[in-house]
Symmetry: C2
């Protein structure tokens, strides 16, 4: 007998992956959570029917949420990750020696718990002494912490379920106020093939709040269309002013100093969504 996980990424298209076993499948307080062992991608975390991360390709997403922001800010001492309970973004943040404190705020403690158990290569750094893990509402957290962070990274699910209010102008305004005077943030902002309207509206909203707004992309094979966008909003520092020679070599598998600026060179049809 063969078992396959099939995700309808749209009503008419999807991916399918052969499964070895299902470790967890439950309704948490906030969402439907599954932890599956796949043949192709290793262990895979699925929330509300959408692949969040897999052991094999997680490095792309986690590196590309963290490093463009952390190499754009000259002194990222205090970093907040909203969502990201699997711990992958935190792991990348900690590669930057300037980081003194990294706070993770995920609303769903079950994501953190099962990631530690089934995704240790991703979640292993959540125990680091520089990290503070808080099970709480990210929206509330930023409103309770004004003028606090140098960098905020929004590693959220899609705008359905618990993350729905994390794709609103109010959220970006809250992030602005939670950042210090030269702070910046990055949010994952879905894919341009199936969610063009979302990218367009997020871009418009972030531009109303931040003076510098830049979109970049990365290839994530288990995400819809394989092309993912990230939106950076910044008060002062422009990622396009960062030169390859200013970027320290880190131990990465996707991000490189030369890729930093190149990731911001968008395909024409994506660029058109940001105008």
């Amino acid at each position: 007998m063969e078992l396959w996980y099939t995700e309808k990424q749209t009503d008419n298209f999807g991916i399918t992956a052969k499964i070895k076993q299902t470790y967890v499948h439950e309704q948490t307080q906030f969402q439907e959570l599954a932890m599956i062992e796949t043949e192709e991608w290793g262990n895979m975390l699925v929330l509300d029917g959408m692949v969040m991360t897999t052991v094999r390709d997680e490095f792309v997403y986690h590196e590309m949420v963290a490093h463009p922001a952390l190499f754009t800010h000259p002194n990222p001492e205090n970093v907040l990750v909203v969502g990201g309970g699997d711990g992958g973004v935190i792991r990348e943040v900690l590669k930057h020696p300037k980081v003194k404190k990294a706070v993770l705020v995920d609303i769903d403690g079950k994501v953190i718990e099962y990631s530690k158990q089934y995704l240790p290569s991703i979640a292993g750094k959540l125990e680091d002494p520089r990290v503070s893990v808080q099970v709480d509402d990210g929206f509330k957290h930023i409103h309770d912490h004004k003028n606090t962070y140098d960098v905020i990274l929004a590693d959220t699910t899609e705008p359905v379920g618990p993350a729905v209010h994390l794709f609103t102008r109010g959220f970006y305004q809250g992030i602005y106020e939670s950042l210090k005077e030269d702070g910046l943030f990055v949010a994952q902002t879905d894919n341009p093939w199936f969610k063009a309207d979302l990218i367009r509206s997020v871009n418009r909203d972030v531009k109303e709040v931040f003076p510098i707004v830049r979109v970049y992309t990365a290839n994530i094979p288990t995400y819809p269309s394989g092309l993912w966008t990230f939106t950076m909003g910044s008060k002062k520092h422009d990622p396009l002013n960062v030169k390859p020679e200013d970027i320290a070599e880190l131990d990465t598998k996707y991000y490189t100093p030369r890729l930093h600026q190149a990731a911001f060179a968008l395909p024409k049809f994506v660029e058109d969504l940001t105008k």
Copy 2:
């Protein structure tokens, strides 16, 4: 009743697309050919069980085979397309006013015939007076035409079926000899997630023949992993010396002057395959 086309891109992973109807499904002299109407991607050409092109996302592949090469060569008058019977690469080649003659050599006349019938937005330019369409073996063609072309574009299927000898050192040597003294070529060279060994071996082979070898990528959502590589071999002109300001604006949906160099900035794990 719902019909879905499911392509196993590896033994353990694939894509699935809802179908409206199947226009053609037959064994040609060379391969299994299907022309399917899908909900998400429009009409889709499938050869030997692999998506070759779809009406909705074809622009990425066809632009990215043609434009990096044609903007790297200062005077691309004579261009050969090996394979590419759907006509998409030819359509992009003809956007360059310097092109005087574009020869298409595909071994399978059925691909050309059905593309004209079911993919008119892609194949429509095959009737252009600058184009010569020849149903023939591309390997044989290049050996019969020494010192003839400025640019050769290898728009082949994967290295199974009729294209198996188009991923060999002998093919690259033949291309070298078929090019003029400052000629260059581009070949599609599959994806780094599932075909790392192929990219590594092609890179090694092309480096034995051409002094300048560069790899670049593009996102193609209906191809395995969504991340596609292309390899350019050049006798004299380096694509990395082409500046955005030297590139004329064309009517494109993916390629842009700024994307030209950025496409060559590889993710670390891809870069490692080329060393």
